[in-house]
């Protein structure tokens, strides 16, 4: 396990929702991250087809992009999501895991740009694409509970 994978492994353990849906680390590197979402009947969106809900894909890709963002930086940073857009290419095949890959493709002084892709049997047949932007903040500016900032 490289140092990036060790970091992601720790972050996955700390985020309870990631534990709850069983998100697994596949691989990580500087600004790159691949996660795996196992099939889970509790995450079904369409009860007639057994297809996983888009929200679970949003969580997979948001997590992949959101964890890839600080991995791209050399200094410890907090990277809240500014926005995320997800395009659903095809319905995910029920019963099969979904791979979520993310890469950071541009870093500026304040903003990090990332994109992601979700697929099952082949990367050439994506289930979803996403783009997301993140703020880059020094860890000390993170807001504490009860201190609402705008």
């Amino acid at each position: 396990m490289n140092t990036y994978e060790q970091k992601v492994s720790g972050m996955l353990k700390a985020v309870l929702h990631c534990q709850e849906i069983g998100l697994e680390l596949v691989s990580a590197d500087k600004g790159h991250l691949t996660l795996r979402l196992p099939y889970n009947p509790a995450l079904v969106g369409n009860p007639l087809t057994g297809v996983i809900h888009g929200g679970a894909l949003t969580t997979l890709l948001d997590t992949a992009c959101g964890f890839a963002a600080p991995l791209a930086l050399d200094v410890p940073s907090v990277c809240p999501t500014l926005d995320l857009r997800i395009d659903y290419m095809r319905a995910a095949v029920p019963g099969e895991a979904i791979i979520g890959e993310a890469e950071v493709y541009r870093i500026t002084g304040n903003v990090i740009f990332a994109r992601g892709i979700a697929w099952q049997e082949s990367r050439d047949k994506p289930v979803a694409h996403c783009v997301a932007t993140f703020m880059r903040l020094e860890p000390h500016v993170i807001r504490r509970p009860g201190v609402e900032t705008r």
């Binding site: 700390a14 990631c18 969106g45 888009g54 929200g55």
Partner: protein, 158 residues
Amino acid sequence: MSHDMSSQDMQTLQAAIAKARQSGNAETLVKNIPYARFIGMQAHCFGETWLYEMPYGKHIQGNPSLPAVHGGVIGGFMETAALVHCLTQLEGPGFPKVVDFSIDYLRAALSKPTFAECSIVRQGRKIVNVSVHAWQTTKQEPVATARTHFLLSEPVQE
């Protein structure tokens, strides 16, 4: 695992949709969507206004130091709210398919209930555009806004 739609599942879902449309009670409908049940979503109807709610729980926690709701779950909640909104507001027996979803995060969603309101911005023959507004303390302080497109499916054969 078989996922073929049985006509019984179909009837159960259609009945739940019809009940929500007629009586404003979407409890059975929400119970029939596993993901909605998983995140604990509720749908409340006040006359013509539908309000969606997601109580806080550890199972949806993201950032542990705040603690905050996982951003992906906020997205999932808003998308599910939009789906249920389409099912209750639009005529026709089909199940809308999500085409895309775009969310702007405005504030961290903390450890308290999150609410959402949806509005159908435009309904075409095949595509519906829905905008979703989510907040916690007051509506004037949104935690996120989102918009999504659904493709209206062909009427399903029984």
